[in-house]
Structure formats: structure tokens, C-alpha cells
Symmetry: C2
Subunit: 188 residues, 2 copies
């Protein structure tokens, strides 16, 4: 494939011909919906944590939140169950060409991944590299080792290709088929 | 024990001498914090789902949500991992003396419990009966059978005592020690 923008640092997202413009979150939500409907797995995105400060209760209508703030998430965004196993992952999109910076992931999310792995979770990161139009599954242990032991502040794209596992789509209904990669990578 | 209010239909919450006034959610959050810190389990409450309609971005300060609405949750409130097992539960407080009405739990939460049980989850309801100052764990399967098969619209308190499993506290740091009940009830 030819990447006309590969000498630029930022490129516009452009993942799939068929789902151009859909975010990774959209693709994961649709995949999870299909997994649920087909009885494959039960995995949901957690709601965004919000601190509610003020709520109006107008007569005859729904409570209206009039002041609230986004909170930092203390865990990863997705969890659930597959083949009896606890599944836990964080999803990230990256527009850089040559690396994924650690600053994109919160330290307490790394701590959470570390915690659930200790208890036997299937934990990983789903990383969409927009410039390369590719999605990768990076095993939690692989990511954490590199994050903790290395003086680098990012994963290079070369590292991602070598250590990550590419995620393909399975038709329109499963635009990011990470379950198939779990089967292979975690030997389920 | 003597219940001076037992002839009334509603009574004020009054669970524990030491934690009077704390909600079940407070007690579960503190218990989960202790489980996490002691390396026993990783279980979190999911954030309340909120639809954000309008956000202000004032200069030099945090984004302020100025219009938002509460959404119905599509799953249970709590999930996580314990002894390698996927844990999933809903927590409810009930101020009625003689029963817990099914109208307190959303049908899609019952569907969610049914779904995760099919995949091998440890799923249950934590029910605080304020009038009796008691917490119970009700196995997901027991609850669902009764919910689906029976013409009744509530669990009677007698049914709860007979089929539920009382949850005690373990000191101040674990005011609702449901993990201990899981060990016994689910034979982990």
C-alpha cells in the first residue's frame, strides 16, 4: 500500500473504505453489539465518568443536569465476559505515524490493567493507528513490561507491528473483530 | 431483635450502628476499595450513564457540562474479577418491610444477568432490606427463575430469608463482605 502522507507527522483518520469516518469507539460498540446478539461474548463500554454538581427537576419532565464535569476514568473503558473469562481492555486511536505515546494512556489505567492481570484477566489494549489504517491488539503484559521497564516514552510503530496482533474486520457487523485475535493470542 | 416499625410499610434506613446513614453504594464502594488494596478482588461500580447535550469550554478551566440527562443503565452497576472469575451484580436498597418489588429492577438488567450467566459469570443481586437491617446476596439464577416463572411481582421477605444468603460486615473497612458469601455460595 502507498501512504502519500507518511512523511507528515499527523494524518487524517481513514481506516476503512466501508466505514470511513467511524471512530474506533463506534466500531467496537457495533462489534460488541453483534457479539452480544450472536451469544459470542458480553462486553460493554463503561459510561464516561461525570461528576454531577447541579440538577434541575422541572415539572412533568426528566431531571436536567445543569452543571457537571468530566472525571478522569479510574479503570479501562471496556470489560465483560467471553468463554467464562473476564475480559478487560482500553481502546486508543493514534494519529501519529511512527509511534504511540504513553501520555495517551493514564497511569491509573495501566495500574488497573496490572491489577486485573494479577487476578487472571484477559487484558489488552486495542490500538488504532489511523495513519496506517490498521488496528492492533497489544497484550496487557507486553504493554506493561515495555511501559515499566523502558526509558522510552512511546511504543514505536515497528514495535507495535512486531509485538502487536493485527485485528481485522469480520463483515460490516463486526468492524473490529478482536475476539478472533483473543482466541489466537491468549490460546482460549 | 425488636422492630418497633414492623407494622409500618416504610421505615427509615438504619443498617449499622457503626455506619448509620451510609448507603449500600457507600458500603460497597468502601468494601471494593479494601478488596482492591488487599489484592482480594478488582470490582468497580460503573459510572452512571449520562447523555451529554451541551458543553462549555471556558478559557483556562475545565470543560463544563451545561445540559445533560440521566440514561437508563443497560447493564448492572458492578462488575470485575475475583479468583479469575468474572463477577457481575446489581445492588438494591429496599425500604419495604415484607417484600422487594420487581419494579425496582429494570428488565434489561435482568436480561444482562441472564446473558452473563450463560457465559459462566458469578452473577447475583446484593439486596439491603433497610427495615430488617440486613443485607442479602441472591444468586442470579435463583432470582431469574423466580422473576420469570412466577406470577408474583415481588420477592417476599420470607423468600429472601429462605433463598438469599445473609451478608455480614468484616470490620469497618469491609462493611458489606459479599466476597465471603460468594466463596460459600458459589463454591469457589
Amino acid at each position: 500500500m502507498n501512504y502519500p502522507n507518511s512523511n507528515k507527522k499527523y494524518v487524517k483518520p481513514n481506516i476503512s473504505q466501508s466505514r470511513r469516518g467511524m471512530s474506533l469507539e463506534d466500531d467496537l460498540n457495533l462489534s460488541n453489539k453483534t457479539y452480544l446478539e450472536e451469544g459470542i461474548a458480553v462486553i460493554h463500554k463503561k459510561p464516561t465518568p461525570i461528576t454531577v454538581v447541579n440538577v434541575d427537576y422541572p415539572k412533568r419532565s426528566a431531571a436536567k443536569i445543569t452543571e457537571a464535569y468530566f472525571k478522569l476514568p479510574s479503570t479501562t473503558d471496556y470489560n465483560g465476559i467471553y468463554k467464562g473469562k473476564y475480559i478487560d481492555f482500553e481502546a486508543k486511536e493514534c494519529n501519529l505515524v511512527t509511534s504511540f505515546p504513553f501520555s495517551s494512556i493514564h497511569p491509573h489505567q495501566v495500574k488497573h490493567l496490572t491489577d486485573v492481570i494479577k487476578h487472571g484477566a484477559i487484558a489488552f489494549i486495542v490500538l488504532r493507528m489511523n495513519a496506517h489504517e490498521k488496528d492492533f491488539l497489544i497484550k496487557g503484559n507486553d504493554f506493561i513490561s515495555f511501559y515499566n521497564d523502558c526509558s522510552r516514552k512511546s511504543l514505536s510503530y515497528d514495535w507495535i507491528v512486531k509485538n502487536g496482533h493485527e485485528i481485522k474486520h469480520r463483515g460490516l457487523a463486526i468492524p473490529c473483530d478482536y475476539i478472533k485475535v483473543i482466541d489466537k493470542v491468549f490460546d482460549l
